[in-house]
Symmetry: C2
C-alpha cells in the first residue's frame, strides 16, 4: 500500500480526480479499502468522445455512490474551447480541469486534491520537461502546492511509486472494472508520442526499461532540491527585515549566492525567475554596480547600505 | 573564445586528444591561436577504418608539427580487442584510449588532458546516462578528475558550451581542414542511435531543439551537485579522527544525513556506492540496530561510541 495512503488521516476530507480510467479507478478503490471516509469524487467530462464521454461520467458517478462517496461532475467542450481561444487541446483541457477542481474545492470547502499519476506518468513528465528545458530531471512531487483557478491547492499523488501495468493487474485480480480510454485531454498528441514513440525507442537503444531510470532520476532530483533548500537555510542571508544581508551573502561560494538569490526572488513573489535574472541579481552584489535592477511586473531589486531587497 | 582557454596558463604543458575530426581539430587550432606553447598532441589509431585510419594519424601528426607541437601516436586493433575480451567495441575503444592517454601522461610527465567534447556530445551523454539510470541529468564536467590506466588525470573540456555545427562553421570560415569520420570507437552504435534517432524524434515531438535543453539540464545538475557538496561541508559531521560523529549527524534532516553518508563512503574509497548501501548505512544511525554493515571488497562500516567509520 502506498505510504501516503497508509499514513494520511482517514477522516479528513479529500477531493479525488477520477476520469474512470484504470489509474484513477485503482486510486479510488485503494483509498476506499484503506478506510478513507470522506472523499469527494470529482469528474470532468472533457466532451471529447461524444456519447462515450457521457458514459464515462455515469460510470464514475455510479462508482462513487456505490462506495458511499460524494460526487462532483462537470462538463466542458474542450475542443471548442481550444478553437475559440486558439490554444492546444492539452492546454484547454488543463485549464478546464484546474477551473473545475477549483470550483469543487470552493463548493466542498476542501483544498486537498488526490490525483492518480503513477510512475509511468512521472517518467513521461521527466522526459518531456527535460527536452523542453526544465532545471534538471524535474518530475511531479508526491505532495505539492499548486495554484488552480486562483486557489492554492495541495496536490497529493500517492501512486507515483507504482507502474501503470501494476495498477491494471491489481484491478484485474480484484475483478474491478474501469473504462478504457476515458476522455482525458492530457493523453493526447505530445504525451502519447512520448509514451508510444520516444520511450520505446530509448528502450530499444538502451536495451533496458528507461521508465525505471527516469523515475529514479526524478527521485534524486527531488532530493537534490531538498538539499538545496536546506543549504539556502544554512546560508542564513536574510536579515530581520527580510532583506538579503550582502556581507553575509558574499561569504558564500557563487553557486550558493545564486541559490539564495533564486529562493529570495521566488519567495518575494517575483514570477518567472530565470537564470539570466539571477545573473543580473548577482551583479548587484558588486558595490560598484548600478544599485537597481528592474523586475518583471514593474517591481525592482534594490541595493542600499549592504542590503538587497525587492521593492 | 571559451573561458578556460582564455584563463588557463599558456606556458603549462597539456596533452590534447586529437582524432583528426572537426571537433578536435577546432580545439587544437583554438588552443594554438590563444598562445598555448607546450601542447602534446595525442592520437590513437583505433584501427577501425583500415588505410583511412592511417591517413587520419598522418593528418594529425602533420598538423601537430605544422603548429609546432609534440606528437604522440598509438595504434590498437580495437575490433580484435573487443572480440578477444568479449566486450563491446565502445568499451574496448574506451579502455584502449584510457591506456594510451595514461602512457602519454607517463612519457610526457603531464596529467592534464584536454578533450574536444562539445555541447552536442554533452546532450547525448545526458540522455544516455538518464535512460541508463544515472542520478539526475548528469553530464560531463568542464574539469574533472578521472582515473585512466591507474593514473589520476585532470580532464578539461573547454568546448562544452559550443555546438558541433558552430565548430564546423568556424573551421570552414577559417579555411582549416579536418578528416571526416575519423576512427573514433566512441561514435558507434548506441551513441549514433541517440544522435541520429532519439534526439531527432524528441525534436519532432517537442518542436524545439532538445539539445539546448539537455545542455541546460546538465549545467543545473552540475550546480545542484556543487550545492550538495557545500551542504555536506556545512553539515560538519566528520570528527578529528575522520569518523562520522553520530550525535551531530542526527541533528540533520534525513536527506542531509544521506548526502553525508554518500560522500563519506565515496571518500573512504568504497566503490560503487548505491542508494541501497546508503539506506543500510542510514540504518546504523539507529542505536538499536546491529552495529556492523558489510561493504563491497571485504570492508565494513562500524558503529561504536557514537561514531561510524569504515574499517
Amino acid at each position: 500500500m502506498p505510504r501516503w495512503i497508509e499514513e494520511a488521516s482517514k477522516r479528513r476530507r479529500y477531493l479525488v480526480g477520477v476520469s474512470g480510467g484504470a489509474d484513477s479507478v485503482s486510486l479510488l478503490h485503494l483509498l476506499h479499502r484503506s478506510g478513507f471516509g470522506s472523499l469527494v469524487v470529482c469528474h470532468l467530462d472533457h466532451g471529447l468522445r461524444g456519447e462515450e464521454s457521457r458514459e464515462d461520467a455515469r460510470f464514475v458517478e455510479k462508482l462513487a455512490k456505490s462506495l458511499g462517496y460524494a460526487f462532483e461532475g462537470g462538463r466542458v467542450e474542450v475542443a471548442g474551447l481550444a478553437r475559440g481561444e486558439k490554444i492546444s487541446v492539452e492546454t484547454a483541457g488543463r485549464r478546464a480541469r484546474h477551473a473545475f477542481f477549483a470550483a469543487c474545492a470552493r463548493a466542498r470547502r476542501c483544498r486537498r486534491l488526490v490525483l492518480a499519476h503513477h510512475g509511468d506518468d512521472q517518467a513521461e513528465t521527466v522526459l518531456w520537461k527535460l527536452v523542453r528545458g526544465s532545471r534538471g530531471a524535474c518530475g511531479m512531487g508526491e505532495s505539492q502546492t499548486m495554484v488552480m483557478g486562483g486557489l492554492e491547492m495541495e496536490i497529493i499523488r500517492p501512486l507515483l511509486e507504482f507502474r501503470r501495468a501494476e495498477l491494471r493487474q491489481w484491478l484485474e485480480q480484484e475483478n474491478l472494472s474501469w473504462r478504457e480510454d476515458p476522455s482525458n485531454a492530457q493523453a493526447i498528441a505530445v504525451r502519447n508520442r512520448i509514451r508510444n514513440e520516444a520511450l520505446p525507442l530509448l528502450e530499444d537503444i538502451a536495451k533496458r526499461d528507461p521508465t525505471e531510470a527516469l523515475i529514479k532520476a526524478a527521485n534524486s532530483d527531488a532530493e537534490l532540491r531538498q538539499i538545496e533548500a536546506w543549504a539556502v537555510e544554512q546560508a542564513d542571508v536574510i536579515d530581520p527585515q527580510s532583506r538579503i544581508h550582502l556581507p553575509k551573502l558574499r561569504t558564500h561560494p557563487e553557486v550558493i549566492q545564486r541559490a539564495c538569490l533564486f529562493s529570495y526572488l521566488r519567495q518575494a513573489g517575483v514570477s518567472g525567475v530565470t537564470r539570466s535574472l539571477v545573473d543580473r541579481a548577482l551583479s548587484l552584489t558588486d558595490p560598484e554596480s548600478p544599485p537597481v535592477i528592474n523586475l518583471p511586473g514593474g517591481r525592482a531589486l534594490r541595493r542600499r547600505a549592504g542590503r538587497i531587497w525587492v521593492a
